[in-house]
Homo-oligomer: 376 residues x 4
């Protein structure tokens, strides 16, 4: 059987196109779920079948927006932004704005270790409607403190910005002196900080808005150190519990209860754990893009116990949790996302589940409500 965009050419191109069309259908429906791109009922198109929300979008709405997520990070590391080209990245920001921009704040991860790429992406991201940019310090290439300040000040001039500090990924800490200098910029919205709650407290005392970047520390970051919220991996799985931890008062026993999940989730760099979990919860298809591979069977077995302990009803999705076999996973290099293949069945390039897959993982978690009330 030929794959998506390829057909045995029997010289009846109408047939070929019809076959293609039928395969592309879910893609079209994905867009129909968006608010703005409503059905076009052309004079000839009166019989377009009833529209229903694709499962993934529904899922997104059910589990995240309804449960209180106030914003999403589009194309962060958890959302595999570094595996997308910039045009896919910007398209996904525009798509999210178009579909969910009136329900949640859309924060585009338009940072880069190249200042010109960061400028270019940030311009385009704001142009397509993102509410704020997330900016990382120049990872891998690195630079001096002065270079870091110049980098941030350049991009800060473009619009509301959250700075992200995660030395375990970047190889270089953003020290308080840099944060304080760039905080003078009126576009500086705050910091996603992974360097611990002491530093968070110090920033909060200086009037800087902070989101915790560590799920395991976010309870204390909030209640002891004054963090505004958390940009979270775990909230993609247990949005309601994470919301409770962050916004319904101190709750050390709930924190203790979710810790096994969080520890399990961070055994390998995310999105490895997250995607393994979502696949076993039946929320995404078991497809991994290299260099990511699923957690091994031993860990996948552990996940069952974790779900049982916390209660399946607290997790996203509606299917029973299951242990996937090695053979259930598909590993793709994604040079050609359109060729996602399972068994003999070819799937369209951007079908609802692919989009859903991306959405499921770029959802960055909770922002404190009051913060966003300051939008006018």
């Amino acid at each position: 059987m030929a794959s998506l965009l390829i057909t045995n050419h029997n010289l009846s191109s109408a047939d070929a196109a019809a076959a293609l069309r039928s395969r592309l259908k879910p893609f079209r429906e994905a867009y129909d779920s968006c608010q703005r791109t409503r059905r076009w009922r052309s004079p000839k198109a009166a019989v377009i079948p009833a529209i229903h929300l694709p499962m993934r979008s529904l899922e997104f709405k059910n589990r995240l927006i309804v449960n209180g997520a106030e914003g999403v990070i589009v194309g962060g590391t958890t959302g595999e932004g570094h595996l997308m080209s910039w045009d896919e990245h910007i398209m996904l920001i525009g798509h999210t704005v178009n579909c969910f921009g009136s329900s949640v704040k859309v924060i585009g991860n338009t940072g880069s270790n190249s200042t010109r790429e960061a400028i270019h992406a940030t311009e385009q991201g704001f142009a397509v409607g993102m509410h704020a940019a997330l900016h990382i310090n120049p990872y891998y290439g690195k630079t001096s403190m002065q270079g870091m300040v110049s980098h941030f000040e350049t991009v800060l001039s473009m619009g509301p910005t959250i700075i992200y500090n995660v030395p375990s990924r970047t190889g270089q800490d953003i020290p308080p002196a840099v944060i304080q200098q760039v905080s003078l910029n009126p576009n500086m919205a705050g910091v996603k900080e992974c360097m611990g709650n002491d530093r968070i407290k110090n920033y909060v005392n200086k009037g800087i808005t902070i989101w915790s970047g560590n799920d395991d520390e976010c309870h204390d970051a909030r209640w002891a150190s004054g963090a505004t919220g958390v940009i979270s991996v775990a909230s993609n799985l247990i949005p309601g519990l994470m919301h409770e931890i962050m916004f319904r008062g101190r709750n050390p026993s709930l924190k203790a209860k979710v810790m096994p999940l969080i520890k399990w989730l961070f055994r390998e760099p995310n999105p490895i754990g997250l995607n393994t979990a979502l696949a076993q919860l039946g929320v995404i298809r078991p497809v991994f893009r290299l260099p990511y591979v699923p957690l091994p069977l031993e860990r996948r077995l552990e996940f069952l116990g974790i779900v049982e302990a916390l209660g399946r009803e607290n997790f996203v999705g509606e299917k029973d949790v299951q242990v996937l076999d090695d053979d259930d996973f598909v590993l793709v290099v994604w040079e050609n996302p359109e060729a996602l293949t399972k068994g003999n069945i070819s799937l369209p390039k951007i079908d609802e589940s692919t989009i859903g897959y991306k959405w499921s993982i770029f959802v960055g978690g909770f922002f404190e409500e009051h913060f966003f009330y300051q939008f006018d």
Copy 2:
């Protein structure tokens, strides 16, 4: 003086960034005029100055939407889409959706002579919210009739589509047999047809929705041949008059009155005439991107008389019309749009007037109201 993204490095990077920021400011404001990206009043940003619509956006609203334009073609030839990279093109579609998508229909010109490029751009265009795609037959590379049908059927499968036939640009006519075959597709919204009113009448009789692609023939296309509307160059200059010609009943005398302008406008391939006119009306800056150059002085002088005869008040813009000197024009290659330079003054990459400039020219003109009422 150094140009935009360059600064004499005096090692006070804060100063450098501040200078950069001040130059980028209009860019920020351009976004602030959009509905969705409203001002973010961060705790530290209470003193952001009062927002006012950038002139160009205001212009766009005043002259086009208020006057009855129902849709815009983003990145058509008049809008210089072939001078943009695909990522700029898609960004501009997303930007237009984000800023004007609730007022006008946004039609992305996502056509290409490469089927894979057309597919890629159309996917991205629908993803960022365009309402319909405009598709051209494969120009320059050309193909057989069967290849043309296969090309159109592939892209038609993706969403609502207007087909565009302009043999004087493509080197190849889309014959009625092809149009009739692809019209069986429920996503086929209609044809922008430049091959004369007899062909238009023939299509209309067969129930195919047609927009005239020729300003000089659009009155008769509408009132004698049954065209639904026009996708127009002249409506960028005289939106009200064009609306009157198309939707207030037969009006041969008004048609005759605007013909001198239309003839003047089409002496060279557009956007040459249109951009020359808009520059002399003070609506856009007198910047041309190669391979386009302004009309010569002789024609620029003629334009004054044309404006006088039709009445300045019927044209867009509010400044007095003027004759520009050769020296007033700037010719750019636009490898670096950020370096638009006039005299010694460097202008930011995408400032409001650059965006305005693009907007001013991709505005494709009028669609018949009833057509769009069929959106639900």
Copy 3:
């Protein structure tokens, strides 16, 4: 079975990579045929098997270089340059320089209807070693005569240039006044002219070097009008005969003998005819990229008679000519060239036959020997 870059993930990634490697192997060998990238015999790699030229490269050498082709156009319309992205296009220029640059002149088609794209591609093309650029006038978007001159003068400043005039594709003639003006530039190497032998004679009389762009007129262009050579489609099929027509003296009877092939070849825009012929000659795989589709069965049958009349030995390739069925052809959209699929067999992205396929078609034909002797 999974396709190329996808594997059922059995968590033995070594196996997966080995499978991948075995599929990619032809790709590696393709490079090994190049002069510069010789085999790297690392201490651990003593057992790499004997290198043999991939069939396609061999074919290229046998049929074209040996037979007297003096140059190739990389990424012209016949070579489907408009179906490649710019990075593929430049890569292919660099690849051709690397593999064949010491045997033939490599002319990169780095023209565009966007001046900035033409500049960018031409810079990159010269940087990776092309000997000259081919530049087209701005097709589709078109411009004024003055715009055309500005476009050409801009790119001429970058290096040796052949101008290409083909109004049936561009929708706009390059008139003699423009050619004469740009001929003042020392980088102007000549014109590929499709507007007939009278115009060619006129140019030759003025000292301008001309290659005919029309196979059916090239004999007379050479012997009656003074053209230097031809940039040819037919020479991809019958290099020896074309060479004879052009460089062994007037030969009206040979010209008459090849005319049926040339007429057959140009029934549809190329590369439709050429690729159909090469596939039936067994030289390329029967894969078409949209918007191109093969000639219909009726024409494919005719081709057999044409080959018989001219003699199989005068055509490239060594297999018997055959009539392919509709089912033998594969139609791809080539969003993912890596997924060229025939039946159940997945083929690697750039295998030797894919590269061969591209080479086979960008070979632009003959240049007059003496011309190139003027390189020093």
Copy 4:
């Protein structure tokens, strides 16, 4: 005055193009220095002036190839590869192959933290003639050990490969277990290792070829731990001394003599130190691309003493070393490399000195001769 690709349009486009041409001239000459793209003496171009090697290429040859560099890394971090787009990156690999591929081995840094980008770049890099690829583990995004192995095995299947381990940049060590597993691949050429000489010795004992990645440890890596060579930053400044350290026998006193330079060079992430040094030596223009900024004045003063102590004659370049003022440096964002501006003078996009600038910094240093003799 207008900047490079912009001209006051006086409607004499010939003048405009002539001005443009004169500015672009150095660019053309840069290519003329390459072996393959020799002067094209068209019938009309007999008066092209005598070609001379551009200073930068000459510099490159004089100081690096003549002094014994056996290979260059194109687009490593020191060469600012992360500040280039992929098409620039591949172009630069092809350019280097074209100009210097017969003198030195060209190693393209085609690694990425996205497996699909690494595959795409590596395919293109081999296609344009690079001799080997340099591959990094997935930095920033990171992955599990198993993901790392899958990533490397995928790219190793494409051609000769050097693996690069630099945890201080990537945030993640490549442990010996991973290196040993991927070393089974016959394309594995060796490791550029930054994790110390004990680990190097361990690898060497297992028969793995190692280049030291640390200038300060390379003497001992070579003479005590058995490293084959070094991929070096300092060799861009003192090629002869570095060659002596590595290949003329143990020399602790020479090592001690160069240590102050090496320490000075690594005070900030490179290429900050290197570019500051090259600018003060008069070898490159004092232009920095963000996020890089020059070392502060205090360090720049120190450099004078270092050069004096080692002897100016041991450094590259021929001008007197000088201390540059803050005002001498230009900081660019390089969205538009063509607009490198100093004072009021606009410089062409890729002139010889820009190319020279890039070359000067991607030169990775010395490889042991015998290693490369194993090429056949």
